[in-house]
Symmetry: C2
Subunit: 349 residues, 2 copies
């Protein structure tokens, strides 16, 4: 029933590439029967893997290049010098219409810089953002920005709110997603100028956005809102703090369950439930950060992920493409940008 899609993959990005890339494709072959892949990278390394997974080979085309973007390469350097890199060529394929989206587990800063340069931002959007899923008591929440924009003004935050809203509605199917701005207190008088001004704009706007107001760090895992809006510095720290905290609790839980014979027996009896819980919080299940606001679908996989995590990033990209996310953002921004600009002018004036 569904049309065929093509994803371009940076086969050389990430700690265990190109293996995780090829194995990641293998894991979703059945689930995504309508997707073909362009693999950018070193043929000498990729070909033996395709021989190992012949069914993957049928759906892949290899585009040879030996140049790669290092993890410690500055974005500006990567942009200037790595024009034949697997990352750059994979992004070019989206720009040239050969692929519908790109997935890379490489250097985040370089990926964003190159994607922004090659694909450009959607009309009306000043800065693209990195969005990701956050596990909560209420299912998953979307949070943005996760690190693309270290310093943000009110204008950026309002645009993140609108992009997050469109994402939540179109990709997650939430009818009227609620938007919260991350702050150090729920009262209006707290926080920096950017969050206060962004909240004032969203409160008084006639944009069709359901603005909840300010939320605090503990509201994220509660799932108080569907979309958490914040600057890239705070968002990155919050996400990684939560990831580390989940691991720490798991560490102490294991330690507690091993502490006596009785608790060990208890752990064996509860092992099925505990395994399910462990799977629920497996970071690979949340792998795949979405670049929003670009003229093309771009998903960043965690560099240290495994094949399962990479396969999840592939699925995220396919969802974004299938739900016509960028067209929806473009359309909404066309309607909204007038409002937004008016509000921003009013707030600045």
């Amino acid at each position: 029933m569904s049309e065929r899609l093509t994803l371009s993959l940076d086969a050389m990005g990430g700690d265990n590439s190109p293996r995780i890339v090829v194995e990641g494709v293998n894991l979703v072959l059945k689930e995504l029967p309508n997707v073909d892949y362009l693999l950018f990278g070193d043929e000498a390394q990729i070909t033996p893997l395709l021989e190992e997974f012949p069914r993957v080979r049928e759906r892949c085309q290899v585009r040879h290049t030996t140049d790669v973007v290092d993890n410690d390469m500055k974005p500006a350097v990567a942009l200037r010098s790595a024009r034949q890199s697997s990352m750059r060529l994979a992004i070019n394929a989206v720009h040239d219409g050969e692929a519908d989206g790109v997935v890379s587990a490489g250097n985040t800063g370089a990926l964003m810089a190159i994607a922004k340069f090659v694909l450009k931002t959607l009309p009306g959007i000043k800065r693209p953002a990195i969005a990701g899923y956050f596990p909560t008591r209420n299912g998953d929440t979307v949070m943005l920005d996760l690190g693309a924009n270290i310093e943000c003004d009110a204008d950026n935050l309002v645009q993140f709110a609108v992009m997050g809203e469109v994402f939540s509605r179109n990709v997650l199917g939430i009818v009227e997603p609620s938007i919260g701005i991350l702050n150090v207190g729920a009262e209006g008088l707290k926080g920096n100028e950017a969050v206060k001004k962004a909240a004032a704009i969203l409160e008084n706007t006639d944009l069709p956005v359901k603005f909840y107001g300010f939320i605090e760090g503990n509201d994220i895992p509660i799932g108080t809102v569907d979309v958490v809006v914040t600057d890239g510095f705070t968002g990155n720290v919050a996400l990684k703090t939560a990831e580390g905290t989940i691991k720490m609790v798991g560490f102490y839980l294991r330690q507690a369950l091993m502490s006596s014979l009785l608790s060990r027996i208890g752990a064996i009896l509860a092992s099925f439930a505990l395994k399910k819980l462990k799977f629920q919080f497996n970071p690979s299940r949340y792998n795949g950060a979405m670049f929003l606001g670009l003229n093309g679908i771009c998903v960043k996989s965690h560099g240290g992920t495994d094949a399962y995590g990479f396969s999840h990033a592939i699925k995220v990209a396919v969802e974004m493409i299938s739900d016509g996310l960028n067209d929806a953002i473009k359309e909404d921004f066309a309607h909204l940008s007038e409002h937004t600009e008016k509000e921003l002018r009013a707030a600045s004036g």
Copy 2:
């Protein structure tokens, strides 16, 4: 053996005051036999509680006032208008030498503003910070700032590093505490100007500070460093995100253990271990945020805490007093301020 100390308590701060305050004192009567208390607040509410806990009454003096600082009062307003409030009078007692330290569960912003105005900052310190404990795999880490300074420059962050180092060494007894600056990546090229400049100062300084470098959010719960330095916005969000994440994992753990008969039996067998784990992550065990850099000891208890949590905040204040923390900070700053200023001038120039 030990000298007698006096703590002044804002008996009206917090959601369940003055009950939690009186009951909190009751919980530490035996453990802290050398501490007396000044209770500032409404006699009509406090006296019946002291009748309920006659042993607390023997160690307390009540100073009557009916004025209180509301939770939603702006700091500047509280500073100007609430001069007869329980919070203000409790802080005054420290300034007047009647008490060795103050504990309040009231409005954080007002408490910091009044404490700063009444007690003043220690010589060489531009802005006091709020520090707190963070549970990690490696025991507890100290993190600052947790919300007193929403925007920080490199100068502030360097001072936080020095105060945190002195705290960790003197109060926690860590011989050579390592200091990390919270950032969005471990590489030097990431982050905002303030963290980059602060790191450059701490790397090149001849201050006797063991600077680890940048850490990321996930390093906090790992316990990579002994002291986490960050601005008040990020620190507040990180701490609350971690608290919320611990609760969320607990929620799903309970759900998982209740999901089948077998896992329920397992949970019963492991109940002792699980209760110990629950206690380990009880937020009351971490209650008591420390104001560092003031000319007087001031501890902020969480507003929603219970008596156990308030008693923990009392213990934190007594530790800070007993270890002569402020004298240690003053002494270190006298030695260090020359260096710091030289470094800062060099970095700015």
